[in-house]
Symmetry: C2
Subunit: 342 residues, 2 copies
DNA sequence: CTCCTATATGTTGACGCTTACACAATAATC
DNA sequence: GATTATTGTGTAAGCGTCAACATATAGGAG
């Protein structure tokens, strides 16, 4: 077995509790004994047992990460690694570890969360998505278990601590960016219409059009659940319009989706940005590697993750604070997929 | 506090140990009491406390995941999400959870591993990389702590349980695929030369050339540590060669690297596959989304992860078995970046 | 009817750590 | 020099679960 606090105590000729206090750097212990104990810890190669500590304190220093049910797809999106990096740094800073909820189906994941929570495996949870009518969210709220959400909750916005962009504004800004280049026929190609973010960016888009006095056209608004394949369908739908009604610019809510769009356009021999401009969202790594490099709205994904874990830890250590809402800024990164209308 | 085994015991009018036995489904307990206890568990909403259980059995049912020090880069590679999915499924099947070692620097990560291991937070570890002279590897070996490696260990190949492709064969196959199309001037663009996988694929390449009686040329072999940017440099270097010595085909050891190559070629108005053929490795999701879609060696990344966690769990539950080596098969997925030489 | 065996359940320490409380020794106060 | 703080350390009771051992009950063998 491993070396325990008792072994250290014996070696240093003190009581186990004293060793424990040295670990916690309790001011009641004299410098002299602290030195003595630390030396014993070093020579014995002692490391405190986290499990035992967790049991005694009722806290694990672990954060649970919950991905949407369709994690296959989610993992593939460049959003995931980046947000994970942010979460990881935020957690690491405060000495928290990250644990993933595994499972394929939504049912699996729900059970995983329940086990994590009731089993005392984690001190808090980060929800990496925002969904309408989410069982997990409801469960966590009922139990009053610390959690934060990345994205905007569908309900109870005031009551749920969350970290999000101002997606309405982002949609508006992106649209105005295109308007500013003289585009008037702007189409919107969004992801799953059930996601709050899609809806919000859309209303930003609508709002920008309205402000500019440009009528909203239903044919210009498309939703695609499957990002990579979706691009193709969307483009085909738009290109079936009569020539003079085809959009001169596209607002695409995900880089991955934009990549599909880009490829399909290239197959159709439509040149970006000469024939059509594209602005997308997320500013994934490959958005500068595409041809042409994509103008994209950088939503600071890293920051999203970082703030989420920091906030969660605050909540864990301070359960009575009121819920907070953090808005992470966005900015447009202009590359070569957008051009002034001819 | 939460409902404990004692509460259930009281409610069902039995001893705590009986409840414990019901949880473990011990055959010594009569069906009648089992029923009674289960009912009590349900009405009270009991969930066993994992921490306490871990302390009592000295096992956590958690697997630690260690990424290479430069996790920023690693996370971005599509390899990561896929292998993670595999790991996750393998772990989930046996009711294990995944925990990430967080930390930026190598030092950070090393300390994280030590804490995990000595702190008893995890039962085993998966190393998601293979590096020369790795401190962490050495540490785990010294402590005789269960772990498996994804990739091929640099030393002690026989002594370390690992899951890998036959990268020599993969390099050979890919090269022969190009040779079979009549290419003779084939360049090799690899990742970091310190990685075992790079070296092995290279020797597969060399071997294929030798078998075909084609001389090995040093100018044709390039290594790039930074995948996305590296593509550009490599192409530029090759294109400085006199026209009739330029390669007609490229073997690129990572899709990400290939993407950079593709873009640079396009900038230089060199057409793939008409002017030059490209075969790459990993078969990432976007390799079918590039222009043209990449011919790529699919190394079954998911399977790599899945086998790794399954193997690790076997080792954990059966520490005395000899180390095993699992080779995951690869296959060439032919798309449109390769063409017979003119 | 006693003794033994098999079956079903209860008792009691671990597991390694924290922490409230107890206590001893020293220092400060008058 | 007795009294009270102050400081430093020890004692022991948990935290929730498991498992070796102890015990109780019932059924069958003799």
């Amino acid at each position: 077995m491993s070396v325990t606090i008792k072994d250290v105590a014996k070696a240093a000729n003190v009581a186990p509790s004293t060793v424990s206090r040295v670990i916690a750097n309790n001011p009641r212990i004299s410098e002299r004994t602290k030195e003595k104990v630390r030396e014993a810890m070093n020579t014995l190669g002692y490391h405190p047992n986290f499990i035992a500590r967790s049991l005694a304190n009722q806290s694990t220093q672990v954060i649970g990460l919950v991905t949407p049910g369709s994690s296959d797809v989610f993992f593939q999106n460049p959003f995931f690694p980046t947000v994970l990096r942010g979460l990881s740094e935020g957690a690491h800073e405060r000495q928290y570890a990250l644990q993933l909820v595994t499972g394929q189906s939504e049912e699996d994941i729900y059970n995983g969360v329940v086990q994590m929570v009731q089993g005392g495996r984690v001190d808090g949870i980060v929800l990496l998505y925002s969904k309408v009518e989410d069982r997990i969210l409801q469960y966590l709220r009922e139990r009053n278990f610390p959690f934060v959400m990345i994205g905007k909750p569908y309900n109870f916005v005031e009551a749920i601590t969350h970290v999000d962009n101002d997606n309405f504004k982002a949609g508006l800004d992106a649209t105005e960016f295109l308007l500013g280049m003289g585009h008037e026929r702007i189409a919107y190609i969004g992801g799953d219409a059930k996601l709050v973010v899609t809806v919000e960016r859309l209303s930003g888009y609508e709002n920008a059009l309205k402000k500019a006095g440009i009528p909203y056209r239903e044919q210009y608004v498309l939703h695609e659940s499957f990002l990579l394949e979706g691009g193709k369908e969307a483009v085909c739908a738009l290109m079936e319009l009569p020539l003079d009604e085809r959009p001169t610019a596209l607002l695409v809510t995900d880089d991955l989706l934009a990549l599909g769009v880009l490829n399909t356009l290239s197959e159709l021999d439509i040149t970006v940005p000469d024939d059509i401009s594209i602005i997308s969202f997320n500013n994934a790594l490959f958005s500068e590697m595409s041809r042409p490099p994509l103008t994209s709205v950088d939503i600071n994904i890293f920051q999203l993750g970082f703030s989420a874990s920091s906030q969660l830890i605050k909540r864990i250590e301070n359960p009575n604070e009121p819920p907070t809402r953090i808005t992470v800024p966005h900015q447009i990164v202009s590359r070569f997929s957008t051009e002034h209308v001819k």
